[in-house]
Amino acid sequence: MNVGLRPRLFLRSLLLQAGFGDERRQGLGFSWIIDPALRAAYRSDAAGLRAARLRHLEAFNTQPCAAGLIVGACAALEGRAAAGDAGAEERARAFKNSIGAALAGSADALFWGALRPLAAATAVFVGIVLYRARAASPLLIAAAAGLLVFNAPALTARWLGVARGLAAGDAAALEACSLPAQAWIRVARATALALALAAGAAALALPEVRAHAALAAAALAFGAAFSRAAGGPLKLVAAAGLLGTAASLVLGWAL
């Protein structure tokens, strides 16, 4: 396998969703990512290259951070198919479709449902703490902390995914399944929850907010109680606006 392939696949995997559409989802991006591997594998077989390119233009969807493993494994399987392994071509197609959906379940929960809230909670908490401590450049440090919390594991997963996929082919899926992803998700969610509540408590102590602490606490409880039933917080914010208007008109209340 081409020695420069791993960094090329990794870098290209960052554009998996550049052509995201309703019809093929990430299919166009995936075909562009894997193209250097296909060209290397089928360098003396133009018909094979064309068939492989058509295979990978099919609809595909997974969590972007989990895509590295699928890209690497499919590249390895296409290499075997080009070398004469009769079953590798079909295994690549089946692997891509089945593992794409399977990995997306855990990876969505980890990266979108746990690490993204953790990153935001970290940024807000760090920002408020540094602001209260009158530290230099609190917003810059806060944003950097949030970005680090998400990007360190996300980029590691992409890089190692490509590497393990290239090395082990479809067997890399078994390695991925053996990872303690559920434990990581639980820890990240619990930490995000603790940091979000700590950030809220720290914000309540700010002089700018303290005067309306009771209102803030009521809004927080309102959000906790009804966000799910309302299908998200936006409708509740609209309701808060209507309540404020009514209170102003009826009671002469002002914020």
Partner: protein, 204 residues
């Protein structure tokens, strides 16, 4: 209103917005980054951070599963921060509402774009069947360019209209409506954090 500032702000948001789904994702397009960044560029990073925190809390529990898109958090936070920071006569609650509107419009525009991208893959397939090069990189570049151009157009229009109309429109609103908008802006981050805490607690 300074046209070069409007165009510069729209261009910055068009580039940052690519991170939301198209390139990365590195979270550079999240409101906790975009709000303070645009606020800093406009001379008031803390107001930008307050607006960013509000939009971050509102959109954080929304998982982008299967390409779901209800509100563009990047465009909402960026538009609000640009309008609310360094624009005389535009209060933060007014900028918050303008940001919500811009983010809502951007989400609809992007949904339309996603509906048209199937043609790019079909074109590549047809090229391969005809024995031509599929030009995959050029097709992805076309998709990225269209995305950035659409975001630029939405942001430039939002910033120009907001800067021109908001100061007088806000002053003309009845007091009760202004109080309602201020209540919504004040409550937004707390409602968002409450919802997020309940979601995380349930899942954890």
């Amino acid at each position: 209103m300074n046209p070069s500032s409007v165009l510069g702000g729209a261009a910055a948001l068009a580039v940052l917005e690519l991170d939301a789904a198209s390139i990365g994702t590195f979270l550079l397009s999240r409101p906790f980054v975009v709000g303070p960044l645009i606020g800093w560029a406009r001379g008031d990073a803390w107001s930008g951070a307050a607006l960013g925190a509000a939009f971050e809390a509102l959109t954080l529990a929304e998982l982008p599963l299967g390409g779901r898109l209800d509100l563009s958090a990047c465009v909402a936070a960026g538009t609000a921060a640009w309008l609310g920071c360094g624009s005389p006569g535009i209060s933060l609650p007014a900028a918050f509402l303008a940001g919500l509107a811009a983010g809502w419009i951007q989400a609809r525009v992007e949904r339309r774009l996603r509906g048209t991208r199937g043609a790019l893959a079909r074109g590549a397939e047809q090229a391969l069947r005809d024995g031509r090069a599929p030009c995959l990189g050029a097709r992805l570049a076309a998709a990225l360019s269209a995305q950035a151009a659409a975001t630029f157009a939405v942001c430039a229009a939002s910033l120009a209209v907001g800067a021109a109309v908001l100061p007088s429109a806000w002053a003309a609103l009845p007091e009760g409506v202004r109080v309602g908008a201020s209540s919504a802006f004040f409550a937004a981050p707390w409602i968002g954090v409450g919802g997020l805490a309940a979601t995380l607690g349930r899942r954890a």
